[in-house]
Amino acid sequence: MVQTDQLEFQYKNKEQLFRFPNITLKEQEHLLILGKSGIGKTTLLHLLAGLQKSTAGSINIDEVLINSLSHSQLDKFRGQHIGLVFQKSHAITSLNVYDNLKARLFFSKKAIDEKNIAALLKQLDLIETKKSKVNELSVGQLQRLGIAMAVIHQPKLILADEPTSSLDDENCEIVMNLLQQQAKKHQANLVVITHDARIKSSFKNVMTL
C-alpha cells in the first residue's frame, strides 16, 4: 500500500516548489505517472524511494511513514522494501551479473538464496550471462538485469524511472511485460514514471503531472 499526502519539495537554493497530487495505491496496484520533462517526475520518484526528503507532506508505504525515518532507517527500509529501475540500467561494474544479485541481497540484509537467483536469471533470460561482467552485456540484457536487481529482494514497491524511453517498440513491450509480471509475482505495487506514451495502454491507473 502506498499513500502520499500534500507532498511538496523544493531544491536547495532554487525557487521552484514542486507540489504533487496525492497518490493512493492499494496492495498490488500499479500506477503510471506521465508528465513533461522538468515537471518533477524523477523528483517524485526519488521522494517515494526515500532518496530525497520532502519539504512538506507525508509518504506512507505499508504503514511506514518514510519521511519520519532517520537516514540509517531509511537506508534499511529502502534496501528491504523498495526496488528501483532506471532508464539507463546500471549495476556494480566490478561484479559479474550473479555477484551483483548477491550483493543486492547482501545490502538488503536478506538471505542469499542461490536457487532463487538462478530461477530469476532463467526467467529473465540472463542465465547464460551470469558470469559476465556488467560492461559485457547488451543494452537489452542490462535492462533485464536492472529489473532483476529491482525485484530479487521481493520488494513491496517497485519504482521505475523512464524504463522504456531509450528502447524500441519491441523491447519496450518486453520490459513492460517483465516489470508487470515481476510486480505481480512479488505482490508489489508498481509505479512507473515516464513521458513515453507508448506504455499508457498497459496501465489502468494513470496520473498526469
Binding site: H46, H71, A103, L105, M149
Partner: protein, 416 residues
C-alpha cells in the same frame, strides 16, 4: 558476499592503479626499513667489535685508519712502532692492559694477528676446542674462520704476505691450528690469532730468504742469523697497541700526552667511530629522506587512486545506497580497499627489505670478511611503521570523505 569480497573485487577491477600504489608504497617501506636496519646493524657491529679497547696506539697517520685497521681490521695499518714502546706503556699505572698486535699476512683473506694472551681477553673469547698458543707458528682460529675455511685442529697452512688473498707471495713456513675460539660476534671471530714471535719469525725468515737470494751467500747463512738475533730485541716492531684503562682518568690524559710527546699517535675507537658514523650518517639520512619522499608520493598515489575510484564509481556507490547500503558501509568498503593496499605494501616492502639486506650483507661479507648480525630496535621499527600507517590512513580517509557528502539523488539523476 560481504564487504571484504566486494572490496577485493573492486581492487581486481582496477589492477593498474592498485599495482602502482602497492609498488610505490612497498618501495618506500623497503627503503625505510632496509636502510634503518642496515645502519643500526653496522653501528651495532662496529661498536660491539670494539670489545674492551679504549685506546689504540700506533704509527702516526690517520686516527680513523688506525682504528679501522687495528680494531675493526678493515683497513691497512698506518705503519709500525717499536716493541719497546709496548713495554714502556705497560708500566704506566693508569693502564689496565696494553696488548700489542702485529699483522701483515693473511690466509685466504683472513688476517693473521700476532699478539699476547691478553688479546682474547679484550674480546672475552674462550676456547671452543684445543689449547692456547705456546710456540711460534701455532694459531687459534676465530669461529668464523674455522667455519668458512673448514680448518680443524692439527691442520696446517701457508700464509700469504699482505692483507688480501693471494697465492703469489706465500711464506714457506706453515702454521698449525692448535685451537678454535667460541663465537663472540666480535672482530676476533674473523681473525687467525698467533703469538708475536710467529709474525716476527715468518718475516725475518722472508727477509733472510730475500737477502740470501740477492747475495747468493749461502755459506754465511748461520753467521748472519746469529748477528740478527743479537740485535733483535731493539729492532722488533709491532703494528699497534690496544689499551684499556683502570679509570676514565687515563682516557682523558693519556691520548693527549702520547700525541704530544711521542712519535706515535693515540686514537680513541669510540670517538673515531662516532666521527665515521657522522660521515656515513649523511648518506643514511639522505636515503631515509628519499624513502620518506617516496612514502609521501606513494601515499598521494593511494589518495589519488582511491579518490579517483570514489569519483569514477560514484554511481556504483550511489547504487549500493539504493540497495540499502549505509554510508558507513560504503566508507568501510572503500577504506578496506585502501587498507588492503597498505597491508600488502607493508608485507612486500618488508620482504624486499629482507632480500635487499641479504644481498647487501653478502656484498659486505665478501668485501670485508665481515659477518653482520642484523639488529633492529623494535621501537624504531614500530615508529617507522607507525609513520607509514598514519600517513597512509590519512590518505585513505581524505580520499573517501566525499562518500559522506554524496547526494545519491543527484548522482542517479545526472547519470540518466
Amino acid at each position: 558476499m560481504n564487504n571484504l569480497i566486494i572490496s577485493l573485487k573492486n581492487l581486481f577491477h582496477k589492477p593498474l592503479y592498485v599495482f602502482l600504489s602497492i609498488f610505490s608504497l612497498s618501495t618506500s617501506v623497503a627503503l625505510l626499513l632496509g636502510i634503518q636496519k642496515f645502519d643500526s646493524s653496522i653501528q651495532n657491529q662496529f661498536e660491539n667489535g670494539l670489545g674492551n679497547i679504549e685506546m689504540v696506539v700506533g704509527a702516526k697517520g690517520s686516527p680513523l685508519q688506525l682504528v679501522l685497521s687495528s680494531v675493526l681490521h678493515i683497513d691497512n695499518p698506518t705503519g709500525n712502532i717499536p716493541y719497546t714502546e709496548v713495554q714502556k706503556l705497560s708500566k704506566n699505572p693508569m693502564i689496565k692492559d696494553a696488548v700489542p698486535i702485529s699483522y701483515g699476512d693473511n690466509y685466504k683473506g683472513y688476517r693473521i694477528v700476532g699478539s699476547t694472551l691478553g688479546f682474547a681477553k679484550l674480546y672475552e673469547a674462550e676456547l671452543l676446542e684445543g689449547k692456547e698458543v705456546n710456540q711460534s707458528l701455532e694459531v687459534i682460529l676465530g669461529n668464523d674462520v674455522a667455519k668458512k675455511l673448514g680448518l680443524k685442529l692439527g691442520d696446517t697452512f701457508l700464509s700469504s704476505h699482505g692483507l688480501t688473498e693471494n697465492t703469489i707471495e706465500e711464506h714457506d713456513q706453515s702454521f698449525t691450528v692448535v685451537g678454535i675460539y667460541k663465537p663472540t660476534y666480535k672482530v676476533i671471530d674473523r681473525l687467525i690469532i698467533t703469538n708475536l714471535a710467529s709474525i716476527w719469525d715468518v718475516h725475518h725468515h722472508k727477509e733472510e730468504k730475500e737477502e740470501i737470494h740477492d747475495t747468493h751467500e749461502h755459506e754465511e747463512n748461520h753467521e748472519h742469523e746469529h748477528e740478527r738475533n743479537t740485535h733483535e730485541i731493539d729492532e722488533r716492531e709491532v703494528t699497534s697497541i690496544l689499551v684499556s684503562f683502570k679509570s676514565p682518568m687515563g682516557l682523558m690524559t693519556m691520548p693527549r700526552n702520547i700525541n704530544a710527546q711521542t712519535n706515535m699517535q693515540a686514537a680513541l675507537p669510540k670517538y673515531e667511530l662516532e666521527r665515521l658514523f657522522q660521515f656515513t650518517g649523511v648518506g643514511v639520512k639522505a636515503i631515509s629522506w628519499i624513502a620518506y619522499v617516496i612514502l609521501l608520493i606513494s601515499c598521494i598515489t593511494i589518495f589519488i587512486s582511491l579518490y579517483k575510484m570514489v569519483k569514477e564509481r560514484a554511481f556504483d556507490l550511489a547504487l549500493m545506497r539504493t540497495y540499502g547500503a549505509s554510508n558507513f558501509q560504503l566508507f568501510c568498503i572503500v577504506a578496506v580497499e585502501g587498507i588492503i593496499m597498505v597491508l600488502v605494501s607493508l608485507i612486500i616492502g618488508f620482504l624486499f627489505s629482507q632480500i635487499g639486506l641479504y644481498y647487501l650483507i653478502s656484498m659486505f661479507k665478501s668485501q670485508f670478511q665481515q659477518d653482520i648480525v642484523l639488529t633492529f630496535s623494535t621501537l624504531q621499527m614500530v615508529q617507522t611503521l607507525g609513520i607509514i600507517i598514519v600517513i597512509a590512513m590519512v590518505s585513505i580517509v581524505l580520499a573517501i570523505l566525499p562518500i559522506l557528502k554524496m547526494n545519491i539523488s543527484k548522482i542517479i539523476s545526472d547519470e540518466k
